[in-house]
Each structure stands twice: as structure tokens, then as C-alpha cells.
């Protein structure tokens, strides 16, 4: 809705004004080096943590620079209140090796969680670029108790402690109980000339208790799951306890320019998987401001959203 609002102003402005744009060099002070933690735990999945540092914006960002932003050898522990485990750092270039060492069930789990690693190989990279190595922390599979593996569970709270050098970072999250979608179906677009695209619709009945926050991803065929770049989260402020029918816009990789004309739709013949998540309030607020900020780039009426 907000999007509509802003777009409307841009449209009006564009109707009348011949606004122009040019590239500039902005002198920004050198900074960077703040610790950034991205961690995930989902129902039935082991925790996975990426630990990096911020990079100064105009210090000629390069692959090497981004590569070197990973923080290694941190001491990370995660607890669900009952059990505390220490996580181990892995490299993505040894991912096949890593997967091969796993018990079969985890092969599938990690295979789903880390598809971007599997998609990337030297064949698909532009020539002259080197393989990008990801580092992540997860359960230590060399040292695991198969009878009580640390996996995400509905309704549990998790706390995380990271120690690296003399920096310490802590975080908490929880997995709320999910209310599943009622149904999903495809419909043709209203453009009679377009017989190759379809829109994915869904019906959701929100639980009568207020305070539900949702996030969703879609996956097309064997691609990874992508969130909708224009907003992947919403809460039930407006829809509490009601049934709602809405279209599920296709998630996509924001870093790749979109194919024209098919922004939110799927192609006939696609196999689509929707990942429907319940998230806690802090998690929701984080995504809400992050996505708002991404949207406001290039909008004269927008303003930075400090995350």
C-alpha cells in the first residue's frame, strides 16, 4: 500500500518533470569492521551462522574484499534452554565433501538449506572470476550425538553467544508455532495476450490470537528459495483472525536484473514451492526495516530506514 503511495508520487512527478540522473563520486569517510551476524534456525533444521564484517562503501569493493569480510575461528555456542552446543566453522568449497560426510538425512537437509553453494561452481561464473568461498558455522558433525541432535523445534527459544578476539555478541530468537496456508492455486493473468504466465494465489486464515508475523519464500523448479524483494514479511495487525486471499509474488534474486514482464508471475510448467514461515516480532521488525530501506533506494520521497 505504501509502495503504491510512493509510486504514485513518482509517477506524477515523472508526468510533469524531466528529471535526470547522473553518476557522481561521493567522498565518504572510510569505515567498516563492525561485526555482522546472520543466523538461521528453522523447524527440523540445524542452526547455521554466517559471521562477517561490514565493508566500507567506497573503498572500491572487490570480490577479495567481500571474501575477506568473513570472521574465522569464532567461538559460537547456541542454546535452546536445555541443551547448549558449540558450532564449528566450515568452508563452502568443501561443501560436497562436507555433505558426503553427513548421515543421509542431513544430506537432504543441508542440500535444501545451502542450494546457493551447490549452484555455484566454476562453470557458471564469468571467466576470470574466482570461486567465491563461503564460510559458515553449524553443528560439528565430527563430534555429534546422533540420538539428540540439536535441531529447530516449534515454540522454542534460542540464544546465541559469539566470542571472537575480545568481541562478544549475543542474540536471541524463537520459532513461533506456524499456521499453515489453507490452499494454493494458479490463475491466468488478466492480460489476454499473455498465455504463458500465471499468478500464484493463496488463502490464509490467520489465528484468532493477535501477534502473528509471517515471512515467505518461493522456489521455482530447482532454484533456491527467494524472498519477494518488495516485501517478504507481514503481520496480522490488519487481518487478525480473518481469512484473506492474496497473490503470492514470485521471490527472486535481487542481484540479478529481472526478466521483463514476468516480475511477480510464474511460467506455465513451473514447479513452485512456497516456504511459509512464522517469525517472532524482532525478526519481523528487522526484515520490515531492511526491506523498506532497500525499496527506498532511488526514491526522492523516501528516506533511509536505520535498521
Amino acid at each position: 500500500m505504501n509502495l503504491l503511495n510512493k509510486n504514485f508520487f513518482i509517477l506524477i512527478t515523472a508526468l510533469l518533470l524531466s528529471s535526470c540522473e547522473e553518476e557522481i563520486t561521493i567522498d565518504l569517510p572510510e569505515s567498516g569492521g563492525k561485526m555482522v551476524l546472520e543466523g538461521k534456525i528453522e523447524k527440523g533444521m540445524p542452526p547455521i551462522i554466517y559471521l562477517t564484517e561490514t565493508i566500507s562503501f567506497f573503498s572500491s569493493i572487490s570480490v577479495e574484499k567481500i571474501q575477506s569480510a568473513y570472521i574465522h575461528n569464532a567461538n559460537i555456542t547456541i542454546s535452546n534452554g536445555d541443551t547448549t552446543v558449540k558450532l564449528k566453522e566450515y568452508r563452502s568449497d568443501s561443501i560436497q565433501f562436507f555433505l558426503n560426510t553427513l548421515p543421509p538425512i542431513f544430506k537432504l537437509i543441508y542440500g535444501n538449506m545451502l542450494p546457493e553453494f551447490l549452484l555455484k561452481n566454476n562453470d557458471t561464473l564469468p571467466s576470470g572470476t574466482s570461486f567465491f568461498v563461503y564460510y559458515f558455522y553449524t553443528l560439528d558433525f565430527n563430534n555429534i550425538n546422533l540420538s539428540s541432535i540439536f535441531l529447530g523445534e516449534d515454540g522454542k527459544n534460542y540464544s546465541l553467544t559469539i566470542k571472537e578476539g575480545n568481541r562478544t555478541l549475543t542474540g536471541v530468537t524463537s520459532i513461533p508455532v506456524i499456521k499453515n496456508l489453507d490452499s494454493l492455486w494458479f490463475e491466468k493473468t488478466d492480460n489476454p495476450l499473455n498465455d504463458t504466465n500465471v499468478i500464484l494465489w493463496t488463502q490464509l486464515t490467520d489465528s484468532v490470537l493477535p501477534g502473528n508475523n509471517y515471512r515467505y519464500f518461493t522456489r521455482r523448479n530447482r532454484e533456491p528459495f527467494f524472498p519477494n524483494p518488495y516485501g517478504s514479511v507481514f503481520d496480522d495487525h490488519l487481518i487478525n483472525g480473518k481469512s484473506l486471499t492474496f497473490s503470492v509474488d514470485r521471490g527472486r534474486n535481487r542481484n540479478v536484473e529481472n526478466e521483463p514482464g514476468t516480475g511477480r508471475t510464474f511460467n506455465i510448467g513451473d514447479t513452485v514451492t512456497v516456504k511459509w514461515c512464522a517469525i517472532d516480532r524482532d525478526h519481523y521488525l528487522f526484515w520490515r526495516s531492511l526491506e523498506a530501506d532497500r525499496r527506498s533506494v532511488g526514491n526522492p520521497f523516501g528516506s533511509p530506514t536505520i535498521i
Binding site: 524531466s18 557522481i24 561464473l125 488478466d190 535481487r254
Partner: protein
């Protein structure tokens, strides 16, 4: 309230009595041939323009023998009380022929005056409608009057004269953006300007995102901007008062004027309804971008889309007698945007917004010394969106509505003593962004946002008085109160900011929260000699209603909200001192003013704020303090073939917010240097040329300094709030006006303007964008500057009959 008002009024009268004795002594020295001492008589009346019958506001009435005088009020009324005797009185108004009348004052005298505009003689151009040497003489500080006449020939953008863009060329006033009519005064926010059109508050003065102001210059009689030393009769905003009065309508004959421009045209008609008794003015304006666009949209899916705005000013007045006169004036303006089509499911949107105001005024003369104006004012600002796609519909509406009653008295007890007092009451209805949307048969609506209601009241009294030949003092007191009343649901929120079941309901008219404040106003003038003076002033203001925006532009969606349980009123104290000098026989006026201003309870949004519908914006506010200071220089040449002004401001505007990540930061509109040059030259009888040049330090902005990756996507980490600057802003505009051949019945001119002559790409905003997969060499970070207007010529044909 009433009792207090009487108390304030009586305190003031007491204080005036002993002061008279000082005045008498001075009087004795100066008055020539008094027949009998200590008998006072009054000369009073109205001063008008002879041709049009318009009241002349601020005209000088000068008693030659005493070297003292008074000025007319906003209705053109003056009153002079003098000891009996013989006097020569001069009626003076810049651009008009002086009129001198001799009085042998043995009784009270009614003297209405009609001044004749000076005809333009080659070689000497006089700008009509400006006050005389009041610059040095009055206690006014930071006050500037602009006549529409004086800006007629200035360069314009889009072919339209705009009073709001002209005031941005004055020191201490900054533009809110390229081509924008929004303005900031002395480090204050855009909601801190009290904008009045015939006494009615105009809440959103911009059309088309502010590129046009709602004020049609053909219908305006007088514009006064007060930046500091705000007198006690104004209140309710921290930073400034922009008081615009509409013309009353020609009382002698029917006349018309208008203009045809590239994207808009306007027409004004005025004339008598009943000679000497009643007159009217009607003025309208409309853009035709929508008509111009239609041919291009025909046959496309967007057929029927468009945008236009129009506005209409009307005013009628009726004079019952010398003592009673009524005025009825109104403004109605709308911006309408409609959009249909698009790729998706018969998408349709209709968005109207605009202001409506109505003012009824009654001027009553109790006696020759006591003038009253009573006004009943209604105003309404409203913004709506209606949009839908097949069986999905959404609507939103927001706005503010006021009913306002006010009574103001002007009392002229003696020469060199003026008293004003009055009272003002407003009932506000605030409609926040309340929205509904429908999906099929199901309607979604949150009912925790409803209208808010409030009473706002003020009583004031002020006294302007000459202590002696050198010192004049203007002191006043304003007492203001604000009360939010029911119906109101006070919701309690849980840790997720969801409404809990605990709700406190306030019944209709039940007190929710009350605030009040005393606002002392003071200014002192010390006359060094006839041509130069020193002045100092102190102003305290409370502001009970607020507009908070997270955008750098003022938008029609910006919401006004009342002070409430959570939001305290804003408060400011301003100290100012200045030196005023007129030279070369008052041809030039100049001033240097220094100001220092503190502001409390300033409002910003929380760092992570994101606008959301159906959420009380109060929940996302944080509160802080503001400081602004600066020095303003102004030199103006008022007469001659060659006239214009130079203004320069050196200033700082800072904020302190404990609850923001950056606690101390400059405001978006903090501009260290801000200057303008406005020149106008009458080349010949038929040609005139003009130019304006503006220069300003780049606006402060918040840019990302660092990036990090979340889910593989780059994410911005911003630097401290407003810690970066855009490039400096500068621009030159020029205009040529060609007057048609002299014809008594019909006058016309062509105005050719060029905006941004040297095609400077002034930044409108900056943004930083990334391209490509971050983990490859294709990844690129680029900074962009967006600018709005390259060199932009326009032509307008203006006519008058």
C-alpha cells in the same frame, strides 16, 4: 478562559495610564499653538486606493508638526488622537502620490483618504504597495512585506508567479527543495510556519508536490512574513507567520486580469456589486497537463489517466455604514490524480486532495479609537486515495478540519500608543490515515484509529508605546491552551505494539489531556537617528499541533496530529537583535539581524520507522531539542529604474535526540550559507528585465557508509544522521517582460523567463545503488545524483482590462 482574558486586558489598561503622563510632557514641547491644553481629539478613517478601492495596509499617516505618525491596520483603518490644535497630516504610501491635509483640530474628525497610484514615468519606476520608512521606525523585527506588484516582473518557473517562491529569496527563509514552494524559516521545520489566507489557516500550501503554491497571485493584496519578534496577536507556530490577505474587489468598476501559460491559466474578475457599498472578486486557475497528455494516452491501457489542479478564490464585502462592514471570502482548491490500466487486473486509482477555507469577517468601529474585527473561519484539508483491482479495493482518507472564532481589537488611545487585544478559539478535528480494504466480500478495517478532537484557545494583549523620542517598546502576552477531548479510545499496547484488551474510553467532550502556556512577547526599538535604529526582541511560542514527515519533501500525505497524552506541545524561545538603516532618502533599506532560537519537544520518527497504515503515528515518535542561530543581511533598493535586493544568511540548525542512534545532528535544512540577489531593471517604457540568483550550501543527507550481506544481498549501514552534504545549490534565472501598447482599456504583457540559465545540475537527491552478483567481479557500487530541472524556458501572456 473568558475571565482570564478580561484580566489580561485590564492589566494592560492599567499599565497604559501612568505612561501617558510621559507622553504629555513630550507633547507640550512640540505642539504648536495649543488653544486649550489637554483636550484630545481623534482623526480617523480608512485609506484606500483611488482606482480600485482596495484598502491600503500599513500606509503611513504622518503628523508633520510632531514628526510622528501611525500606520493603517490590515483593513486600512487608522486613528490618531492628538491634542487640539493645527496640524498638517501627510498620507504616504510607497508608489502612491502623497496627500497632505491641514486640520484645525477642535473636534473629532472622520477622514477617509483615497490615494492615487503614481503613473509610471520613464526613468523612474516606483513599486506600488510597499510601506515607507517603517523599516527603521517600527518595533518590527524579521518582518517583511511583499506586494505582488513588486514581483510581477521576476523570472518564474512554469510561467507562474508565486509568492511562496519569492519569500524564499529573503534572508532567513530557505526553500524546501528544487522548485518547491515549501519553506523553512530560521532553522524551524516546515510545520512551524503559520500560513494564513484571509485569517484562515492553510495546512498544505502546495499543489503538485509543492511545485506550485495554492496562492494565486492575481487575487492577493498583501503578504507579510514575520520570522522573529512575532507579535502577540499571532500564535500557534514556532517559526514564522505568513499572513496573506486577498483583494477585496474593485469598488469602482468591473475589471479583469489573467494569464495564459504553458501548463496553466488564470482569470480574475472584480468589480462593484453596489457602488460604494459592495464589491466582489473571483479568481480561478487551472492546469491543463491532463488535456495535453490525453492524445498520447489514447488507445493505451492508461487512457483516462491524468493529473490536474485548480483553485478558486472568491471574496465579497458589504459596507453597511461607516461603522460596520462585512467580508465573506473563500478558497477552494483540489489536486486530482487518476490512473487507470497498468499491466495488472484493471487497476484504477483516484486521488483527490486539497484545501477549502471560508472566512466571514465583521469590521466594527465602536468609536474612532476602537476598531474590532470578528471572524468566523472554517477550514478543511483532505487527502483521499481510492484504488482497486477487480474485487480488491482500498481506500484511505486523512486530513484536518477546523472551526475557528476570533475577535481582535485595535485601540488607539493616543498618538504613539497602540493597543491590540483579542481572543481566538479553534475546534480541531484530525483524521489520521484511516483506511479500509476489501478483498471480495470481506472488509478489513482496524478500529483503533479514529478521529481526534481538540479545543485550542488563546487570549492576548499587546501594547506598542513610545517611551521617548528614541525608544519604542512593544510588549505583549499571549495565553494559550489546548485540550484533547473525547471521544477517544486510549489503547494500551503489548510488547509487540499490538492493541491489548485494556482500553480506556473518553466520552465525547471529556478531557483527555490539557496543556497551556504563557507566551511573553517583547520588542524594543532604539532610534539612533532618523535613518537608523537598533532593535531587540524576545518571542516565546507554543505549538500544539504537529506535522511530522520522514520525507525530505513536503507531501500531501503529511499528517497533522494534535498534542495528546504522548505528544507534548512544541515550545520555542527566540532572541533577536538587529541594526536597521535606511539611506539615500529611503531609497535603500538595509538590516543586519542576529537570532538565537531554542526549541523543545521537537519530533522525529524512530530510526527504524517505516510508514504503516492503520497505526497511530504517535507510537513511532521520539522527542528532542532544537537549537538554531544565525545572522541575516539584507539590502534593498526600493525605487528607481533599477531595483531589487540582496540577502545573505549564515546559520546553523541543530537537533538533539536522546533516543536516536545519532543523538546530535544538523537538520536536513541546515544550510550554512544561503544567499540571493534579485534585480529588476526597466529598460524602456515597453521592456523590463529581471534576474534572480540563489546560492546555498548543499542540504545535509544521510548516506550509507558501509555495506554488509544478508541472505547474499547487500545491505546499507548508514553513517550518522545528516552527516553528509549534497553539492552546493546555485542557480540563475532571468526574465524579460514586453508590455503591449498603452491602451486605457486593455493592457497586456509577455513574460519570457528562463529558469536555470546556465543549466546547473543542482542535486535533488542522491542515492547509492548496487548492481550485479556481489560475489563476482560484476558487482558494482555507484552513487547517483538526481536533478530535476535543466535549463527551462517558459512564456506567459498576461492581460488586464
Amino acid at each position: 478562559m473568558r475571565q482570564l482574558f478580561l484580566a489580561v486586558a485590564s492589566i494592560l489598561f492599567f499599565t497604559t495610564t501612568p505612561l501617558f503622563s510621559i507622553e504629555l510632557k513630550i507633547g507640550e514641547r512640540h505642539i504648536g499653538q495649543p488653544l486649550q491644553k489637554n483636550i484630545f481629539y481623534t482623526i480617523s478613517g480608512y485609506i484606500k486606493d483611488k482606482q480600485t478601492g482596495e484598502a491600503l495596509v500599513g500606509a503611513n499617516v504622518f503628523v508633520k508638526q510632531l514628526m510622528k505618525g501611525t500606520t493603517t491596520n490590515v483593513y486600512g483603518f487608522y486613528s490618531l488622537t492628538l491634542e487640539n490644535g493645527e496640524y498638517e497630516i501627510a498620507y504616504i504610501y510607497l508608489g502612491y502620490k502623497d496627500q497632505k491635509i491641514k486640520f484645525n483640530l477642535q473636534t473629532n474628525v472622520k477622514q477617509n483618504i483615497e490615494l492615487e497610484a503614481e503613473s509610471i514615468e520613464v526613468g523612474e519606476v516606483v513599486i506600488k504597495g510597499e510601506r515607507n520608512s517603517s523599516n527603521t521606525e517600527s518595533t518590527d523585527m524579521g518582518k517583511i512585506d511583499i506586494s505582488v506588484e513588486s514581483i510581477r516582473n521576476l523570472p518564474v518557473i512554469f510561467g507562474e508567479q508565486d509568492i511562496l517562491k519569492t519569500i524564499q529569496l529573503l534572508p532567513g527563509v530557505m526553500s524546501s527543495g528544487e522548485g518547491n514552494s515549501g519553506f523553512y524559516v530560521r532553522g524551524g521545520g516546515p510545520d512551524q510556519n503559520l500560513i494564513l489566507l484571509d485569517e484562515a489557516v492553510v495546512y498544505n500550501p502546495g499543489h503538485l508536490m509543492g511545485f506550485f503554491s495554492v496562492f494565486n497571485s492575481d487575487a492577493i493584496n498583501n503578504t507579510t512574513l514575520i520570522k522573529g519578534g512575532i507579535p502577540a496577536n499571532y500564535g500557534g507556530r514556532l517559526s514564522s507567520v505568513l499572513d496573506i490577505s486577498l483583494k477585496e474587489g474593485n469598488t469602482n468598476k468591473i475589471t479583469g486580469e489573467g494569464g495564459i501559460g504553458i501548463i496553466s491559466s488564470r482569470l480574475t474578475l472584480q468589480g462593484p456589486i453596489k457602488k460604494e457599498k459592495s464589491s466582489f472578486i473571483v479568481s480561478g486557475r487551472r492546469t491543463y497537463i491532463d488535456f495535453l497528455l490525453q492524445p498520447f494516452l489514447k488507445g493505451t491501457r492508461s487512457e483516462g489517466s491524468g493529473y490536474f489542479f485548480y483553485d478558486l478564490n472568491t471574496k465579497i464585502n458589504y459596507t453597511f455604514s461607516e461603522k460596520n462592514r462585512i467580508f465573506l471570502s473563500g478558497y477552494f482548491g483540489r489536486d486530482i490524480f487518476s490512473f487507470s490500466g497498468g499491466r495488472i487486473r484493471n487497476f484504477k486509482t483516484f486521488i483527490p486532495w486539497g484545501n477549502a477555507t471560508a472566512t466571514f469577517r465583521w469590521n466594527h468601529l465602536f468609536n474612532d479609537k476602537l476598531f474590532m474585527n470578528a471572524s468566523a473561519i472554517f477550514n478543511d484539508y483532505n487527502f483521499k486515495i481510492e484504488t482497486g483491482v477487480e474485487n480488491w479495493n482500498f481506500s484511505l482518507s486523512s486530513g484536518i478540519r477546523d472551526a475557528n472564532l476570533k475577535i481582535d481589537f485595535d485601540y488607539f488611545p493616543r498618538l504613539r500608543s497602540k493597543i491590540k487585544f483579542g481572543t481566538n478559539y479553534t475546534y480541531h478535528i484530525f483524521t489520521p490515515n484511516s483506511s479500509t480494504f476489501k478483498s471480495g466480500e470481506t472488509e478489513f478495517k482496524t478500529d483503533n484509529i479514529i478521529n481526534k478532537y481538540a479545543h485550542e484557545g488563546a487570549v492576548y494583549a499587546m501594547h506598542e508605546y513610545d517611551l521617548n523620542e528614541s525608544f519604542r517598546i512593544n510588549y505583549g502576552l499571549r495565553f494559550t491552551g489546548f485540550q484533547q477531548v473525547g471521544p477517544y479510545y486510549q489503547f494500551l499496547y503489548d510488547e509487540n505494539e499490538f492493541v491489548t484488551d485494556t482500553v480506556h474510553y473518553f466520552k465525547s467532550l471529556e478531557n483527555v489531556k490539557t496543556y497551556s502556556g504563557l507566551e511573553p512577547r517583547f520588542s524594543l526599538r532604539f532610534m539612533l537617528n532618523k535613518n537608523n535604529s537598533l532593535k531587540t526582541s524576545f518571542t516565546r511560542n507554543f505549538q500544539y499541533i504537529h506535522m511530522v514527515s520522514n520525507s525530505s519533501q513536503t507531501l500531501p500525505t503529511d499528517l497533522w496530529i494534535p498534542s495528546s497524552l504522548k505528544v507534548n506541545p512544541q515550545k520555542s524561545d527566540q532572541y533577536a537583535t538587529g541594526y536597521f538603516l535606511n539611506f539615500l532618502e529611503d531609497k535603500y533599506e538595509s538590516s543586519i539581524e542576529i537570532y538565537y532560537k531554542t526549541m523543545n519537544n521537537q519530533i522525529e520518527f524512530k530510526d527504524s520507522y517505516r510508514p504503516e497504515l492503520n497505526r497511530d503515528t504517535e507510537l513511532d515518535f521520539v522527542f528532542g531539542e532544537g537549537t538554531a542561530y544565525g545572522i541575516e543581511l539584507f539590502v534593498k533598493k526600493r525605487t528607481g529604474k533599477f531595483n531589487g535586493w540582496i540577502g545573505y544568511t549564515l546559520s546553523k540548525s541543530l537537533r538533539h535526540f536522546e533516543d536516536l542512534k545519532t543523538t546530535d545532528f544538523p537538520t536536513r535544512y541546515d544550510r550554512t550559507h544561503d544567499g540571493s540577489v534579485v534585480l529588476s531593471y526597466q529598460i524602456s517604457k515597453r521592456w523590463s528585465a529581471s534576474a534572480t540568483f540563489v546560492y546555498g550550501t548543499g542540504s545535509s543527507i544521510t548516506l550509507p557508509l558501509e555495506t554488509y550481506f544478508i541472505e547474499g544481498y547487500p545491505t546499507n549501514e548508514y553513517g550518522p544522521r545528516n552527516s553528509n552534504r549534497m553539492e552546493d545549490y546555485h542557480r540563475l534565472d532571468v526574465a524579460l517582460t514586453l508590455y503591449g501598447k498603452e491602451n486605457k482599456k486593455f493592457k497586456s504583457n509577455w513574460n519570457f523567463s528562463v529558469y536555470n540559465v546556465y543549466n546547473r545540475h543542482n542535486p535533488y537527491f542522491y542515492y547509492i545503488d548496487t548492481e550485479g552478483e556481489p560475489k563476482t567481479d560484476a558487482y558494482k557500487v555507484t552513487g547517483y545524483k538526481v536533478y530535476l530541472f535543466p535549463i527551462l524556458p517558459s512564456v506567459t501572456w498576461n492581460f488586464k482590462f
